[in-house]
Symmetry: C2
Subunit: 118 residues, 2 copies
Amino acid sequence: MKDQSNTICLCPLDGVIDTIGKKWGLLIVNEIGNHGRLRYNELMSELKEISPSTLASMLKDLEKQELIEKEVFREIPPRVEYSLSARGRELRTAIIPLIKWASKKGNYSVHCSCSLFK
Amino acid sequence: MKDQSNTICLCPLDGVIDTIGKKWGLLIVNEIGNHGRLRYNELMSELKEISPSTLASMLKDLEKQELIEKEVFREIPPRVEYSLSARGRELRTAIIPLIKWASKKGNYSVHCSCSLFK
DNA sequence: CAGCATCCTGTGCGATACTG
DNA sequence: CAGTATCGCACAGGATGCTG
């Protein structure tokens, strides 16, 4: 027990912060996690207000970060399904403390009915 | 045990995400937390590469979010000290899982010697 | 010392139209 | 269906100089 718990280093976040800190980063990861497996247009519907170009570039980012996995079915019409990688699933659980912390500020259970607030 | 742990809602992050998702948000909160109490120019030195205008606006943001507290000593030359609020301290612990998760990707202990990697 | 005022640049992100 | 191409805006954030 030397200096531990006094000092926290954020350098591990380098790189990932550029992805998960973006407006849609965590939203997409979480949405895929909630459904297990989602197609492009399903994401477009779930994440209302996102533009196709934004979604496409985010999906590329997340795939490069190895947070999601992309499976292409060579069919007509084409089908592409996205799912979380093991690492993506870990991320999803790693942010739960953060969400719980955030939910303590306002009373979000009022307009949010997810299981965290029961 | 109904739908819990299947669905995660990110809406609590609304608002805070705009602050902590910014490039310097968590960095500043964490730096103040590491030192307990810091002055403006001390932050300028610790956070190398940050510009005065950016730091100033971030500090205002964080103060408005009630994550940090500002204490002004009416002296000459003026002295201003920043410290974490209770909520800010909670945030700092809430992101530890996230950092641990991130540190599993690359081997950051190589160029980072903080206590998390011992 | 602790900022604020100003200018400037990069880019995240949206809107729309088009393609394999 | 699953994207790409193009345009455009808003804003984060850097650089510099000035002030109480």
